[in-house]
Point group: C2
Chain length 120, copies 2
Amino acid sequence: VNALIIVAHGSRRETSNLEILSLADKLKLEVGDRFKTVSVAFLELTQPSINDAVVSCFKQGANEVTILPYFLSAGNHVSEDVPAITQQLIEQWPDKAIKVIPHIGAAPAMIQLMSQVAVI
Amino acid sequence: VNALIIVAHGSRRETSNLEILSLADKLKLEVGDRFKTVSVAFLELTQPSINDAVVSCFKQGANEVTILPYFLSAGNHVSEDVPAITQQLIEQWPDKAIKVIPHIGAAPAMIQLMSQVAVI
């Protein structure tokens, strides 16, 4: 059973955090064939943490978790924080599979998306 | 003459800032018919600022500048900082057109992009 977790930075603005939750709901409709659940975790300023979100997936029966860092560039959060948290989880849950895929900003199709929105 | 400026947060990691510059170069190939230049500005931690980038476009002959906030969610940077800086520029340059388009995370096609990258 596969679970997808979108990891975002987290904001003091509740509307900003709700934007991510809404995105997860929409994404679920697209990836429902691959992932039984799509949930959200935040690095800072709000909850749940990556740790809480991953454990929650395991409790719901997931044995494979994919973490999608919802960040545009590879700053410290992407390069250090997410890998460190994930590494700790991997050690704590040796019978589960946890993997981190590249941050969304690294997707080759990001250029096309930017081109679509860049209107005069 | 239209100029496009990608506004990113800025990072302490130079590789992260260079990632944005590289993206701008690639985007230029896609939007060259619409924008004479594609440049980058940062809100924090590195240069150039939005102000410097906009003025630089004007000096290069642009009379219309489109600002693309390269942010995934509408936190304070998107909701307050970028609009405030832009408003000040609009007042300082009444004979120029400066507009801010929605942040990249608000693009409807973001869901498809996330679906593409979310692999098991």
